[in-house]
C-alpha cells in the first residue's frame, strides 16, 4: 500500500516531460534537417537573391549538416537503446503495467524512431549528392 505524496508526483511529472520529448526528438531532428535543406536550396537556387550559382557551397553545407544531424540521432538512438535494455532482459514486448516496462517501452519506441529518422535524413540528403544542378 503506498501513499501518494507530493514529491513522488512532481518527480513523475518531470519524468513525463522528459520522456515525451525524448520520443519525438529524433523525428524532430529529421524535420529540422528537411526544412533547412529545402529552405537553403530555395534561397541558393533563386538567382535573384544571391546573384551567383552557389551550388557547390550548398552541397558542402548540406553534407556537413547531414553528418551533424545524423550524429545527434545516433546519440539519441544509443540512449534509447540503453533505456530499452533488450540485451540484458530479452524482453521485447514490455506489455506489463509497471514503471519498468513503461520506461523500457518508451526506450524501444524512441530507438525505432531514431532508426527511421536516420533513414529519412539519409534519403533526403541523397538528391544533393546525386543532382548537381538547380534546373
Amino acid at each position: 500500500m503506498n501513499q501518494i505524496s507530493t514529491e513522488e508526483e512532481q518527480e513523475e511529472f518531470l519524468e513525463e516531460q522528459d520522456s515525451l520529448w525524448r520520443l519525438a526528438l529524433s523525428p524532430t531532428l529529421w524535420a529540422l534537417h528537411f526544412v533547412i535543406c529545402y529552405g537553403a536550396t530555395t534561397v541558393f537556387c533563386a538567382d535573384h537573391i544571391l546573384g551567383v550559382d552557389y551550388l557547390a557551397t550548398l552541397r558542402l553545407g548540406i553534407g556537413m549538416l547531414t553528418i551533424g544531424i545524423l550524429a545527434a540521432i545516433v546519440w539519441l538512438g544509443w540512449g534509447a537503446w540503453r533505456q530499452w535494455d533488450v540485451v540484458r532482459d530479452r524482453e521485447w514486448e514490455n506489455d506489463a503495467g509497471n514503471n519498468e516496462d513503461r520506461h523500457q517501452f518508451i526506450g524501444h519506441a524512441a530507438f525505432l524512431l531514431s532508426l527511421i529518422s536516420a533513414v529519412g535524413v539519409i534519403y533526403v540528403s541523397l538528391p544533393v549528392l546525386l543532382i548537381a544542378s538547380c534546373a
Binding site: N2, F34, G97, I106, I116, C134
Partner: protein, 855 residues
C-alpha cells in the same frame, strides 16, 4: 509553473488499489442505489430535448451518420460522373455541371466524410476504449458537430442551386480566384468553418487520450487506437492551419481584391499550392492512420492473440505522422521547382513507405501467430490490405519524379488515389462499422448481407479503378467531361462505369442492412467478438453512464488478462461508482502513467452549444454573399454564446474541495495549470493557431524568394515608431497578465485586478498602433502591402480575443469565479498570452525590421 496548494489539491489515500480492497463485495442494495443515482446523472434528455444532448454516445452517432450521409451524396455524384463518361461524346451532363460534380465529389469526400468520420468514430469509441465516462469537453464535441452539420449542408447544398464551386477540390488560383459566382466563396468559407470544427474535435480527442485514461493504463499498455488518435490529432493541428491561412489569403483576394495570387501585382499562385498541399498531403495520412487503427483493434480480436510488435506500430504511427509532412511537393512535381527540391520530396515520399509497411507487416504477423476466424470485419480488413498494397505500389511509382511527369494529371493518378483511399480508409471503416456495431447499437449486422456488400464493393471497386491505370497510361487526362471515340479509351471507361454501378449496389445493400429494424434480434451477447479491450465491457442493454465504475488497468488486453475485471466494474467495485451529487464526473489521470489526479465535472445537455454553432455559421456564411453587417452581428453573438457557456459551466468554484472516489482514494475536484484539462486544450489549440500564423509568415518569405520585386514597393513605409511602440504595448500587456496570475496566487487580489485592467488597455493600444503603422499602404496595389495588411489583420483579430480573455479573467476575479486558489481561467489566459506576445513580436519584426534587412 503554478504554485500549488499541496494539502488540498493533491490526491490522498491509497493508490494503486490492493487485491483485498477489490475483492471486498458491495452489498446489493448499495449497488442498486448507486446505479439509480448514476443513471439519473447521465440520463439522456427525452423528447424534443433529445437534441440538446452532448454525451459522446449521442453526438458520436449523429456525427457518424451525418458524415456517412455526405459520403453517400458524394458517391452519387461519382456515379453520375461515371455515367457521363460511359461512352464517348456523351451529353448526359454538360461541362459546367460536370465541373461542379467533380469538385464537390472531392471536397465532400475529404472535408465532409473522411476527416469528420475519423473524429466521429473517435468521439463514439474512445471513451469506451479508455474506460472514461465521456470525453473531457462534451459541449465542445456537440458544438463541433453542429458546426459540421450547418457547414456541410451549406457547402453540399450549393450543388442543388447550380452554384457549387467548379475549380477542383484543390481550388488552384488563378482559375478559382477568377471564377464567376459564389462557388469558390462557398468552398472557402464553408470549409473553413468545418475546419474549425475539426480542430475543436482534435483538441477534444488529444486531451481525451492523454488525460482521461483509466488509472493504471500507462502509455505502454493503452489501446493502439489511442496512440493513433494522439498522432492524428497532432497532425490535424499542424496540417489544417496552413489551409486556414491559405483560405484567409484566398478570401481576402476574392472579397477585397488583395492580390496574393495575382502575378500581375506581384502575387504568386504557387503560394496557394504550397499551403494547400502542406495541408493536403498530411491529410491523406490523417485519413489513413485512424482507419488503420481500427484494423489494429480488429486484428488481435480475430487472431485471438495480442498484437505483435506493439512498439513497432507506435513507431509507425509516430514516424508516418512526421514523415508525411515532408511529402507535399510530390503533388507539385510539374510546377517547375528546382530539381534538387523535387529530389528531397521524392526521397521523403519513398521513406514513408517504411513505417507504412511496418504496420501492415505487424498485422500480417499477428494473423500468422494467432488462430484466425474469418469473421465479417476480418473480411473487410483483408480486402483493405489487398487494395491498399496495390495503391501503395503505384504510390512508389508516382513518387519517382520522371514517372510522375508522365502520369501527371492522368487517370493513373485517379486510380492510385482511389486505391489508397478505399484500401486505407473506406474498407477499414466498413470493417469498423461491422465490428463496433454491437458496441454502439447493441445489435449485430447481418452476416449474409455483409458478405454480399463486401463482394459487390470489392469486385465493383476493382472493376472501376483497375482499368483506370491503363486508361491513364493511354493518356486520358483527369477532370474532362467527355472524350472523343477515336482516343481508344471507350471500352476502359465503359468497364469503369459498370464497376461504379456494382460498387453502388454494394453500398445500397450495406445501407439497407444498417437502417433496417433489428428488433427481432433480441438482446445480443455482451462481447460478441470476444475482444480483449475495455470497450467490450460495455453494458447490454444500454446504459448512458459509459462505465458503471472506472476500472484499474494493468494489461493491454484487460478483458483477457484481468479475469474479474468486468464483474467488479459492474458491481461498482472500482472508481467513481456513484454520483451522490447528481453531477456527471470522470477521472483525470497523469499523461504517462495514468495515476489518478482529479475528478473532472463533465458538462451536461445544453442548447447553448447549438446556438453558438448557429451564430458561428452565420459569421461564416453571410460573407459568402458579400453581406458583412449580419456576419459581424452573428460573430458577436457567437462570442457571447461561447462566453456564456464558459462562464456558466467551465472551471466552476467547486462546492467541495475533494471527493472520495472509492477504493480509499480521495481526489481534488478542481485543478488549474497543467493538471487541468482546460490548460491542455488551450495549449493544443494555440499550437494549431501558431501554425496558421507561421504559414502567413512563410508566405512573406515565400514571396521574398519567388519574386525579385517583392519588397521594393513601400518597404520603408513609416512604421518604425508605431510598430515599435505597438509591440512594446503588447509586451507590457503580456507582462501584466503574467503578473496578475502571480500576485493573484499570493492573494494580492486588488493588484491582480489592476494588472488585468492595465493589460487590457495596453492590448487595445497596441492593436491601434499596429493598425496605424500599415494605414499608409494600399493593399490592393501589390502583394507586399497586402501581406503587411494580412499580418496586421491576423494580429488585431487575436488581440481582440486577447482583450476579451483579459476582461473575462478580470470579471472572474470580481465575481468570485477566479480566486487565489481557483485560478484555472487566469492560468489559461496567461498561456494564451505567451503565444500572443510571440505573435506580436514576430509580426512587429516582419512589419518593421525584415523589409529593411531583406530589401
Amino acid at each position: 509553473m503554478t504554485r500549488r496548494y499541496p494539502d488540498v489539491l493533491d490526491p490522498q489515500g491509497t493508490y494503486p488499489p490492493t487485491e483485498d480492497m477489490l475483492a471486498e463485495p458491495v452489498p446489493q442494495d448499495v449497488q442498486e442505489a448507486q446505479k439509480k443515482r448514476l443513471r439519473a446523472a447521465w440520463k439522456t434528455p427525452q423528447g424534443w430535448r433529445y437534441w440538446s444532448a452532448v454525451n459522446n454516445t449521442e453526438v458520436g452517432i449523429w456525427y457518424t451518420m451525418t458524415a456517412f450521409f455526405f459520403m453517400l451524396c458524394a458517391g452519387i455524384l461519382a456515379v453520375l460522373m461515371r455515367t457521363q463518361l460511359a461512352v464517348p461524346e456523351n451529353d448526359f451532363l454538360d461541362a459546367d455541371r460536370y465541373n461542379q460534380f467533380f469538385t464537390m465529389h472531392g471536397s465532400a469526400m475529404m472535408f465532409l466524410f473522411a476527416v469528420p468520420m475519423f473524429e466521429a468514430i473517435s468521439i463514439l469509441l474512445l471513451p469506451g476504449m479508455l474506460g472514461a465516462r465521456d470525453m473531457p469537453f462534451p459541449r465542445l464535441s456537440a458544438y463541433g458537430y453542429w458546426c459540421f452539420l450547418i457547414g456541410g449542408i451549406f457547402v453540399f447544398g450549393s450543388i442543388l442551386f447550380d452554384s457549387a464551386p467548379k475549380a477542383g477540390w484543390f481550388m488552384y488560383p488563378p482559375l478559382a480566384t477568377k471564377e464567376e459566382g459564389i462557388g469558390p466563396d462557398i468552398w472557402l468559407l464553408g470549409l473553413s468553418f468545418i475546419e474549425v470544427a475539426s480542430i475543436a474535435a482534435a483538441v477534444e480527442l488529444i486531451v481525451g487520450a492523454l488525460k482521461c485514461r483509466p488509472p493504471g493504463m500507462r502509455v505502454n499498455i493503452m489501446p493502439l487506437y489511442a496512440w493513433y488518435v494522439m498522432v492524428v490529432g497532432g497532425m490535424i493541428l499542424f496540417a489544417f492551419p496552413p489551409l486556414i491561412a491559405g483560405d484567409f489569403l484566398f478570401e481576402l483576394e476574392r472579397s477585397f481584391d488583395w492580390p496574393f495570387f495575382d502575378p500581375v501585382r506581384g502575387g504568386d499562385p504557387m503560394l496557394w499550392q504550397h499551403l494547400f498541399w502542406i495541408f493536403g498531403h498530411p491529410e491523406v495520412y490523417i485519413i489513413f492512420l485512424p482507419s488503420i487503427a481500427i484494423a489494429a483493434m480488429i486484428v488481435p480480436t480475430v487472431a485471438r492473440t495480442p498484437i505483435v510488435g506493439y512498439s513497432w506500430i507506435v513507431l509507425s504511427a509516430v514516424g508516418t505522422g512526421f514523415l508525411s509532412f515532408g511529402l507535399w511537393v510530390h503533388h507539385m512535381f510539374t510546377t517547375g521547382l528546382p530539381q534538387i527540391s523535387l529530389g528531397f520530396f521524392s526521397a521523403a515520399s519513398e521513406a514513408v513507405v517504411i513505417p507504412t509497411g511496418i504496420q501492415l507487416f505487424a498485422f500480417v504477423a499477428t494473423l500468422m501467430v494467432g488462430r484466425v476466424k474469418m469473421t465479417l470485419p476480418m473480411l473487410w480488413i483483408a480486402g483493405a490490405l489487398a487494395i491498399f498494397v496495390a495503391g501503395g505500389l503505384t504510390g512508389v511509382m508516382l513518387a519517382i519524379v520522371p514517372f510522375n511527369w508522365q502520369a501527371h494529371d492522368s487517370y493513373f493518378v485517379v486510380a492510385h488515389l482511389h486505391y489508397t483511399l478505399f484500401g486505407g480508409m473506406v474498407f477499414p471503416v466498413m470493417a469498423g462499422v461491422y465490428y463496433f456495431f454491437p458496441f454502439f447499437r447493441k445489435k449485430l449486422l447481418s452476416e449474409t448481407l455483409g458478405r454480399w456488400a463486401f463482394w459487390l464493393i470489392f469486385v465493383g471497386f476493382n472493376v472501376t479503378f483497375l482499368p483506370m491505370h491503363l486508361t491513364g497510361l493511354k493518356g486520358m487526362p483527369r477532370r474532362i467531361f467527355t472524350y472523343p471515340g477515336s482516343a481508344g479509351w471507350d471500352w476502359l471507361n465503359m468497364m469503369s462505369t459498370v464497376g461504379a454501378y456494382i460498387t453502388a449496389a454494394g453500398f445500397a445493400v450495406f445501407v439497407y442492412d444498417l437502417l433496417r429494424p433489428k428488433a427481432y434480434q433480441g438482446q445480443i451477447k455482451r462481447n460478441p467478438w470476444g475482444g480483449g479491450t475495455l470497450e467490450w465491457a460495455h453494458d447490454v442493454p444500454e446504459e448512458a453512464w459509459g462505465n458503471r465504475s472506472v476500472p484499474y488497468i494493468t494489461s493491454r488486453y484487460p478483458l483477457w488478462d484481468q479475469p474479474k475485471l468486468v464483474e467488479r466494474m459492474d458491481a461498482g467495485r472500482y472508481y467513481l461508482p456513484d454520483a451522490p451529487e447528481g453531477k456527471r464526473e470522470t477521472l483525470i489521470t497523469s499523461v504517462i502513467d495514468a495515476k489518478p489526479l482529479m475528478v473532472q465535472r463533465v458538462t451536461g445537455p445544453a442548447w447553448i452549444t447549438m446556438l453558438a454553432a448557429f451564430f458561428t455559421g452565420g459569421a461564416f456564411i453571410f460573407p459568402t454573399f458579400h453581406i458583412y453587417e449580419p456576419a459581424i452581428v452573428c460573430g458577436a453573438f457567437a462570442i457571447v454564446c461561447v462566453l456564456y457557456w464558459l462562464w456558466t459551466s467551465t472551471a466552476q468554484v467547486p462546492d467541495q474541495e475533494r471527493k472520495d472516489v472509492g477504493l480509499g482514494l480521495s481526489l481534488p475536484t478542481y485543478a488549474s495549470g497543467p493538471t487541468s484539462v482546460g490548460w491542455w486544450a488551450v495549449w493544443i489549440t494555440m499550437l494549431g493557431d501558431s501554425t496558421a500564423f507561421a504559414s502567413l509568415v512563410f508566405g512573406f518569405f515565400f514571396y521574398w524568394t519567388a519574386r525579385p520585386d517583392f519588397i521594393t514597393i513601400g518597404a520603408d513605409h513609416a512604421t518604425g515608431a508605431a510598430v515599435a511602440l505597438g509591440v512594446t504595448l503588447f509586451v507590457v500587456s503580456w507582462a501584466a497578465t503574467v503578473l496578475a496570475r502571480e500576485v493573484n496566487k499570493r492573494s494580492h487580489i486588488t493588484l491582480a485586478r489592476i494588472a488585468l485592467a492595465l493589460a487590457a488597455i495596453c492590448t487595445a493600444g497596441g492593436a491601434g498602433l499596429i493598425i496605424l503603422s500599415v494605414l499608409d499602404l494600399e493593399p490592393t496595389t501589390h502583394v507586399y502591402p497586402a501581406t503587411m495588411w494580412a499580418l496586421m489583420v491576423w494580429l488585431v483579430a487575436h488581440s481582440l480575443l486577447g482583450v476579451i480573455m483579459q476582461l473575462y479573467a478580470l470579471a472572474g476575479s470580481i465575481f468570485g469565479k477566479v480566486t487565489p486558489q481557483y485560478d484555472a481561467d487566469l492560468c489559461n489566459v496567461t498561456l494564451f498570452w505567451h503565444f500572443m506576445v510571440l505573435t506580436a513580436l514576430v509580426t512587429g519584426f516582419i512589419l518593421g525590421v525584415a523589409p529593411r534587412l531583406l530589401a
